[in-house]
Amino acid sequence: MNDLTPDRDDRTANLKGIGSARRRVEDARFTQGKGNYVDDIKLPGMLFGDFVRSPYAHARVVSVDTSAAMALDGVVAVLTAKDLEPLGLHWMPTLAGDKQMVLADGKVLFQGQEVAYVVARDRYVAADAVELVEVEYEELPVITDPFEALNSDTVLREDLQPGADGAHGPRRHANHIFLWEEGDKTATEEVIGSADVVVEEMIYYHRTHPCPLETCGCVASMDKVNGKLTVYGTFQAPHVVRTVASLLSGIDEHNIRVVSPDIGGGFGNKVGVYPGYVCSIVASIVTGLPVKWVEDRMENLMATAFARDYWMKGRISATKEGKITALEAHVTADHGAFDACADPTKFPAGFFHICTGSYDIPVAYVGVDGVYTNKAPGGVAYRCSFRVTEAAYFIERMIEILAIELGMDAAELRRINFIRADQFPYHSALGWEYDSGDYQTAWDKALKAVDYDGLRTEQAARVEAFRRGETRRLIGIGLTHFTEIVGAGPVKNCDILGMGMFDSCEIRIHPTGSAIARLGTISQGQGHATTFAQILASEIGIPADKITVEEGDTDTAPYGLGTYGSRSTPVAGAATALAGRKIRAKAQMIAAYLLEVHDDDVEFDIDRFVVKGAPERFKTMADIAYAAYNQAIPGVEPGLEAVSYYDPPNMTYPFGAYICVMEIDVDTGEAEIRQFYALDDCGTRINPMVIEGQVHGGLTEALAIAMGQEIAYDDMGNVKTGTLMDFFIPTTWETPHYTTDHTETPSPHHPIGAKGVGESPNVGGVPAFSNAVHDALRPFGLRQSHMPHDHWRIWKAAHDLGLHG
C-alpha cells in the first residue's frame, strides 16, 4: 500500500455507510422552506375541488340540487353520483375486497361522507359553492356500536346481497363482514377448560386516527393532447395508485404517471384511495384542466382512514407456577361503513395473530368478526404493521392481568414465558416463523437500566404513604416486551389487490463514480434518501454523499408496493443491497480486466477491488465506473447498472423492552411520565441517529393514543373529536424525555440483517403507557380500564376504586 492511500478506517468513514449517524440529505430543503408538498404544486389553469359532506351518519339522500352552486360565478362543475354512474365510478373497490361509494349513491353511511364534488376556479369559490348545494336527507337509525350492529334489524349496506358471501367468506348477518380464524380452537378450549389458572378480560383498543400534519390531497392533470394523466398526491403507495387508477379509468397504465412529492407524514393514513382522488381525476378529464383537492383537518379526521377500534375478548391460561398454557382471542372489529382496511388481501385482520407476542405459548386460537357501523371507513395500520399494535396491546394487557391473578411480579411472569434465544427460528402456535430474537438479554438489560427492583420498593413505599394519607400521588411501572412482525411480505401469501408485496431498487452508476438509485417505496419523513444511500455505500463502495436516492415517480422508479408496515427497510432495503451486489459482481469483472488478473484473484475492499495478497494493486469503484463507460472490455457490455426485485422469504420480527415510570394524581387524574426507557432491537442498525428519531416520534404517537387521543362518536354518529382542539396531539409540554437503548440481533434472512424500526415504538409504547396507569392502581384492585387514559378516565378509575373517600 502506498503512503497516499488512506487507511481502512478512513476509507470506511468516508463512505458513511451502514452504522453511520449520517446527517440527513433531505434536511437542506426542509429547513429552508423548499420542500415540495402536494399543496405547493401550482399548475397553469388549475381548478380547486371541494366536497359537500353529509351532516348525518345514516340517511337517505332524497335529492341533490346543484343549480344554485352551478350558477355561482367561478364554479365549473358539480359532480354527484349520477354524474359518475355512467363512468362506473360512483363506487370504487377498496383494498379489502369491499366497495365504497365515491359519492353518495342513494344514502349516506357516516358523518362526513362525500355527497357532491364542487370544482371551481378558486378554493374560496369552491367553498362558497359547497354551501349552495341543497341536499335533502331522510334520517335513518344510526348504529355506532358493533355489538348492536350484529343484533340490529337495521341494514346498513343495502347494496350487498343478504346472505351472500363477502370477500372473506360467509356473512352471518347483514351488518357482518367476515369471520376470520386462525389456530386450533378445539385444542385451545380444551387446555383452557382444564387449566390451573384462567383469566378472561375484554380489552378495548379505541378508535383513533393517524392524523399526519399534512392532510391528504392530490393534483390531477389530464393532458388531452398527449393522452397522459398525471396525478400528484400524498400517496404512500404511488405504484399501486397508478394500477388502481388504470383499472378504474380504463386509461392504459403507461399513460398514467403518479407522483408522490414530499409527504408530510403518513402513518398509514395515506395508503388507501379516497373519493377525493377519483373525483379530481374525473374532473380533470372532464375539464381538461388540472384539479387540486386538499382536504382540511376536519375532513381528514372525520372521513379518511381511522385506526384500531378493536374489541378484544381474551382468555389466557397458565399453570400455578405461571407457565402460560393457552391463549384465545375473539375480536369484534368495527370497520365502519365500508371495509376499507389496508391489509394484505389474505389477512382481513392483518397480522393480529402475532398476538402470542414474545411468549412461548403452546396452543392458541384467534377469531375476528368484522362489522359494519355508521362510522368512517378505514382500519389502517397507524404507525404499525397490520393490526400488530392491537395484538401487542392485547397480549401485554393479558399478561399483566394474569400476573394479578397469579399474584406474581409481571416482569418475572414475562421472563419465565419468553421464547428462548435457542428456540429461534421459532414457530408460533398461530403459524408464524419468528426469524431471530434474544428477549431475555434485552429484558435483563432494560430492568437493570431502570433499577427495576428499586422502583418496586419505591412504589410499595408510596402506596403505604398513600394509605397513611401522606400523599395523593401513586407510582405506576409500565412494562412491555413486544414482538413486531413487519416487512410484508412474501409474495406467496402477501398481496394487495393481487399485486405481490415485493419491492425494488434500480441503480445506475455514473461514469465519474457517483450514482442514482430509485426505489419502489416512498419516504414520508423516514429519511430514505439518507439511509438507503448508506446501504448502497457499504455494498458498492461509493460514498453515500455521491448517491442520489429517488422515489415516488412511477415514470422513473421501478414498481414497488410502497411504504407502510415498516416494509421499506426489510423489503426495498434488501432489494437495494442485492442490486448493489449485482453492481459489485460486474465491477469485479471490470477490475480484474483492468488489473490483468483472473476475476477470482480480486476481492472487494471497502471502496475498491484489490488483487488478493497484493493490496497495493487496486482499482477504486470510481476507476471501475469510468472504465465501464469508456473502455471496451471483452465479454462485458458497457455501462454499470442493476435492478433487483426482492421477494422476501419471511417477515422480520423486531422486538423491544420498554419501561414507563408514571406518577398519577388520584384527585385530578393527571399523569406525569417520570421516566421512559426504550430498548429496541431492529437487527442491523443502518443510521443510529435516524433510528433514535423514529423511536422518539413513535413513542410520542403512542403517548397520544394511550393517554388521550381518540375518534369519539355520540349516539347520533356525530364525530366529537373533529378538530385539533378535541383530538389530542401532544405538544412539547406534555411530551416526556425518552432514554433509548438497543441490542442488535440481525435477521438471518435479510441481506444486511436489518428488520425495520419505525413502528416499534408505537407498538411497544402504547402498552407501556397503559400498563403504567394500570400498575399505579393495581394495589387498589384495578384489573382493566379502557384507553385512552385521559385525566377524566384516570380520575374515574380511581373514583370507582373508592380512592376519593
Binding site: R24, A28, Q32, G33, D39, P212, L213, L724, M725, Y738
Partner: protein, 164 residues
C-alpha cells in the same frame, strides 16, 4: 364575494402590493399569490403552527389572520431567515440534531424558535418546551427539536460574545 382590497405586504424584505378579498387568509396570499410555500397549512384552526410566520416581530399563525390585517406589516417567513450560503443557526441546528423528519412542521417550528430566541436568548429547556408548545410535530417527539433550539441559542450567544 366582496370587493377586493388593496394591501401592501413587506415579505422577507420585498414590498408587494396586491388585491385580496377581505376574507382572504394571510397564509393563502403568501402561498398562492406570492409563491412563498415554506409556511404550510396543517389545521386552519391555529392549533398546529405549521403556518407560523413573523409579523412585526411577533410569531403569528397565518392561517387565522386575514391578509387585510397584515396590511403594511413586516413579515418574515422561513424563506427570509437564512440563505443557502448563510443559514440561520436554527436551520443548521435542526439538521445537526435531527430535529425534523417529514419536514412539514419544520418551517413553522424554526420560524417560531427564531422569535423565541429573540425574546429569550438564553432559555432553559423548560422555557423552550413552553415557548414551542404552539407548534405540533407528529414525527420527532420534540426531544431533538428542543435539543436543536438550545444548541442554536448557545451558538448565537457564542457568536455574539465573540463579536463583542
Amino acid at each position: 364575494m366582496s370587493k377586493k382590497m388593496q394591501i401592501t405586504l413587506n415579505v422577507n424584505g420585498t414590498r408587494h402590493e396586491l388585491l385580496a378579498e377581505p376574507r382572504t387568509l394571510l397564509i393563502h396570499v403568501l402561498r398562492e399569490n406570492l409563491g412563498i410555500t415554506g409556511p404550510h397549512i396543517g389545521c386552519e384552526t391555529s392549533h398546529c403552527g405549521a403556518c407560523t410566520i413573523l409579523m412585526n416581530e411577533r410569531s403569528i399563525k397565518s392561517c387565522t389572520v386575514f391578509a387585510a390585517q397584515a396590511d403594511g406589516a413586516e413579515i418574515t417567513t422561513i424563506e427570509g431567515l437564512g440563505t443557502p450560503d448563510s443559514l440561520h443557526p436554527l436551520q443548521e441546528a435542526f439538521r445537526e440534531h435531527h430535529g425534523l423528519q417529514c419536514g412539514f412542521c419544520t418551517p413553522g417550528m424554526i420560524t417560531r424558535a427564531a422569535q423565541l430566541l429573540k425574546e429569550n436568548p438564553d432559555p432553559t429547556e423548560e422555557e423552550v418546551r413552553f415557548g414551542m408548545a404552539g407548534n405540533l410535530c407528529r414525527c420527532t417527539g420534540y426531544q431533538n427539536i428542543v435539543k436543536a433550539v438550545l444548541a442554536a441559542a448557545s451558538e448565537i450567544n457564542t457568536a455574539k460574545e465573540a463579536a463583542q
